[in-house]
């Protein structure tokens, strides 16, 4: 199968959906001629024109609000938020307006929009351009949250997102834009709420999201070479969350690590760990272990930044300890 980059995959997904449905449009800063700073959208304005690939002023709350209103009245906006860190600026429009409109109107209005943004540290971009803020959004009922972990995932999830009648937030890993993966030429969609078991295993389950899927895959390889059989699961969407697949794996391996690049506390790992603890408790040989990003603002210095996020090595180390029964804390 041909291989394309995550960036190209997103670009294809958008182009295909814009061809299919003329109510789809893109709105954001420097999305047109510049094709975004990450060049993900290059070529789209040439095909679809500036009416549908809309450059905005630097006014995130404003264009997010415009997208909400546009979505309510018959279009399908794809909002381009240049950095995931700017989500703080649009929280009101996203969480008070987009997320709640369908419910508050008793089902009469809907807001079929996609918010495309990104996450991921270790790009030396410092504290305001390196955050992974998907947990904030996942906390708000009414929003769906997708976390593609490869070019293949990015394309399939984006197409599904655009066709979804609800507000969907997609966080792409900005370090993965140039990573290639096999992506079929034929059209495909990836349904929301169906986790992907990337590798089967029997000793331990590694649940990774987004950027951390690769980390878990690499960890699983290393563990495999040591005779530890790790299952790797990518939930793909955290809202909706495919509990069944996660629980089945937890019950099978009885040991679980959840790895996510958001800050560990009050984030994604706590939710997934809790659900597994709640519903597979009596199958577990050890507590579900959480590995998020450190609870510190992302430091600029490379010497510091790299140690704030989970790595294959740190996952391996924790997996070993879990499997060898060393996780009985002070407990």
């Amino acid at each position: 199968m041909r291989e394309i980059t995550l960036s190209q995959a997103v670009n294809e997904a958008l182009a295909e959906e814009m061809r299919r449905d003329e109510t789809v449009f893109i709105i954001g800063e420097d999305v047109a001629e510049a094709g975004t700073p990450f060049k993900v959208l290059s070529g789209l304005v040439e095909e679809f024109g500036t009416a549908r690939v809309v450059d905005t002023p630097i006014a995130e709350p404003g264009f997010m609000g415009i997208a909400v209103g546009a979505a309510m009245t018959g279009t399908r906006p794809v909002v381009d938020l240049m950095f995931g860190d700017f989500i703080y600026l649009i929280m009101d429009q996203l969480c008070n307006q987009a997320a709640k409109t369908h419910y508050m109107s008793g089902g009469k209005l809907s807001v079929p929009l996609v918010l495309r943004t990104n996450l991921g540290a270790t790009r030396r971009s410092a504290a305001q351009h390196s955050q992974s803020l998907h947990a904030l959004v996942a906390h708000i009922p009414g929003l769906k949250v997708a976390l593609p972990s490869s070019a293949y995932e990015a394309k399939g999830l984006m197409k599904t997102a655009i066709r979804d009648d609800n507000p969907v937030v997609i966080f792409e890993d900005k370090l993965m834009y140039q990573d290639k993966a096999p992506v079929p030429e034929e059209e495909y969609l990836i349904p929301f709420g169906e986790a992907n078991v990337l590798r089967e295993g029997s000793d331990i389950t590694l649940i990774g999201t987004s950027s951390m899927v690769q980390v878990c895959q690499k960890a699983a390889e290393i563990l495999g070479s040591e005779g530890i059989s790790a299952e790797v699961i990518d939930p793909r969407t955290i809202v909706p969350l495919d509990e069944e697949t996660l629980l089945a794996s937890a019950r099978k391996t009885s040991r679980v690590i959840v790895v996510d690049e958001g800050h560990q506390s009050f984030g994604v790992t706590g939710e997934i760990a809790s659900r597994i603890n709640e519903k597979a408790f009596y199958h577990l040989d050890a507590p579900v272990l959480r590995m998020g990003a450190m609870d510190v603002p992302v430091p600029f210095s490379p010497a510091l930044e790299d140690i704030t996020v989970p790595t294959p090595e740190s996952v391996v180390e924790n997996a070993r300890r879990l499997v060898h029964g060393e996780m009985i804390h002070a407990a």
Partner: protein, 339 residues
Amino acid sequence: MSRAKAKKSNVDDYLRMYRQMARIRAFEDNANQLYLSAKMPGLTHMYSGEEAVAVGICEALRVTDKITSTHRGHGHCVAKGAEFKEMFCELLGKEEGYCRGKGGSMHIADQSNGNLGANAIVGGSMGIATGSAFTAKLLGKDDVTVCFFGDGATAQGLWYEVMNMAALWKLPVIYACENNGYSEYTRTDEIAAGSIVARAEAFGIESHQVDGQDVLAVNALTEKLVARARKGEGPFFVELKTYRYHGHHVGDINRDYYRSKDEEKDWKENRDPIIRFRSWLVEQGIANEAEIDAMNAEIADDAKAAVDYALAAKYPDSTEVDMHVYTDVKHALARGDAR
């Protein structure tokens, strides 16, 4: 009333404008009564005194045109064509309400008439209105959107962001600022530096000021602007000077500390939009006092019937609680959860 002279051909329009203003007043009087008699859950914000704004504007709109409304939204809702019954049901949290009781007064919406909804975030609908206008432009429709908001909302940065885009993209949106002189318990001049009109003009947006108590003046101006917006000459800004008769919300009873009873009296007695328009109708021979009294009585009956209906109507079933969280999931929550 203004120097306007009645046009024969417009008799129905005049009477409908009067009726709509009177309906708003009747709706609010009943809503206030429901609050005072502890029959309404929560608080609500009365539109009484500002009727000429909503009616003057909405009478210039088609059903396919859109509006966005505010926390003080009953007037906009009625003016854009809503029915008493569904409105009172909504205010009382009943299943037959416009939003199945899920929104209440602060979120009442009536998409069948193009009302995209009230909003409990001050300024929260400015983006939505602009986006609605964006849709019209993108899809090549000639719908116009009116964005209602208060003087207090002009302090929200969102407005400047969306005005900039509306102006750059020539969107068919009209920003209508209902300047009632107060935001909550504070006078406008204490929270607005410079000139509100100049702020819109600085974005290259054609701006107007109009007496918000004069329904004909409001309507005439809006007719013109709407026609021009349909042709792509928008956006526009209109500041409408008006007044709210009640407190900020129905519970804001003792308000001497921020405005005087004399001031309230002056507006009610000398600038009431309904009284003024009524005199004009009579003066111009469009209706006589008895006809108007009959209309008012009919409206009062309608309102009372709707209130009674709503009081007796049923609440949504508890199983509705997790419906409409998502469009494609009937019940958002797994049943077996621990609450």
